[in-house]
Symmetry: C2
């Protein structure tokens, strides 16, 4: 067998990136659809169900792109199933405000990670990733729902801030597992794999997390 | 207050019909997303998740139409929540083949009921209802999954046929509750409300049910 070239590993990295994103979106669909059942009213339930349907649209676009590149979406997703399922299992919301914070803050953290990796891939794939990572309207919805919950129960603020910190911590922990496991992705985030680049990324992700917490009116 | 005119009651019937359909689609989204978790592999899970996302698209189109008609979607859906939730609670699939049969046969029965009512409403609404009731590709998916399950376990055929009969029975029972409750809808299905028309409809629905069972390779 020929030795893999740089081009081969770049192609493998793109398939890995699309694979982890695709499974992330399929799970986001599934979890948001599940969490929508906790909504206090039909309007809120429909709003969170709409987010789930949007994530499925993203999944479909990513799976299509994988097929265009000659990759099987199921095979591309397989290496990332465990890490993403673990993340969701460790961050299962128990209340509607927790579900809302997860939908905004948790999916936001995931999007930040993917964005850090998307900058270096080819034009079409990069553009597609940019499209599937938009969070249009989600901040407004989350802020309104969190403010409504805090108006009823001000003591919730501290609990929700802790919850958001847990979302961040578990996301960092699972992404480290993924990066330790998939050298191709590690190289995407860190160039030659140096740890300085990685720690700069973590710093940027933490900064964006604080901005989202401020959006929600929660102390970061 | 003015006495309601025939035009008023026709408008009320359209809002009722769009309301029951909208809640039906929102629930179908929710239940299919939930049932997708039982899928034996990622490809099947993605396929059922795709059906769920499609149902949500239908929900959105129906809710938009309600708003165009000056109606509040949440208020329009409210009268039908209990009957539709009851139907789903009484027909909760316990296995993947049951989920697949429900996705095809159960949603097909519901579509048949709505279609019977859709013929008499105005052009735009009638066309929209026709669009949201298409079941494109679902028969092929369901037949393939049922055949795969029967290949592994031939004895399942009898159990799945019974399950499908239960789906039909519970659908008839819940739709009778709805019609008894909403005169506007009863008038849509039966003209002046005569029982002959209603029993002809039940006959047509049973006939289409048998056709779907044949599609699945199950004895009706």
């Amino acid at each position: 067998m020929a030795r893999p070239t740089d081009e081969d590993s770049a192609a493998a990295a793109v398939v890995d990136l699309l694979g982890v994103l695709a499974y992330g979106e399929l799970c986001a669909f599934d979890r948001l659809a599940d969490d929508a059942r906790m909504a206090p009213d039909l309007a809120a339930r429909a709003a969170m169900s709409a987010m789930a349907a949007t994530e499925f649209g993203h999944y479909r676009a990513l799976a299509d792109r994988l097929r265009e590149l000659g990759a099987d979406p199921v095979a591309a997703m397989a290496p990332f199933v465990a890490a993403i399922e673990t993340w969701h299992t460790l961050t299962e919301p128990q209340t509607w405000p927790e579900a809302v914070v997860k939908a905004y803050v948790g999916d936001g953290i995931a999007a930040d990670f993917y964005r850090e990796m998307a900058g270096v891939v080819d034009g079409d794939t990069g553009r597609l990733i940019g499209e599937v990572l938009t969070e249009e309207g989600r901040a407004e919805f989350a802020a309104a729902e969190v403010q409504a919950a805090l108006a009823r129960q001000p003591a919730l603020a501290g609990r929700l801030a802790l919850w958001a910190r847990r979302l961040l911590g578990e996301a960092i922990s699972q992404s480290q597992h993924v990066l330790a496991d998939r050298e191709s992705l590690l190289r995407l985030v860190s160039g030659a794999g140096d740890l300085g680049a990685l720690s700069a990324i973590m710093g940027r992700i933490a900064e964006r997390h604080r901005a989202r917490m401020r959006d929600l009116g929660l102390d970061p």
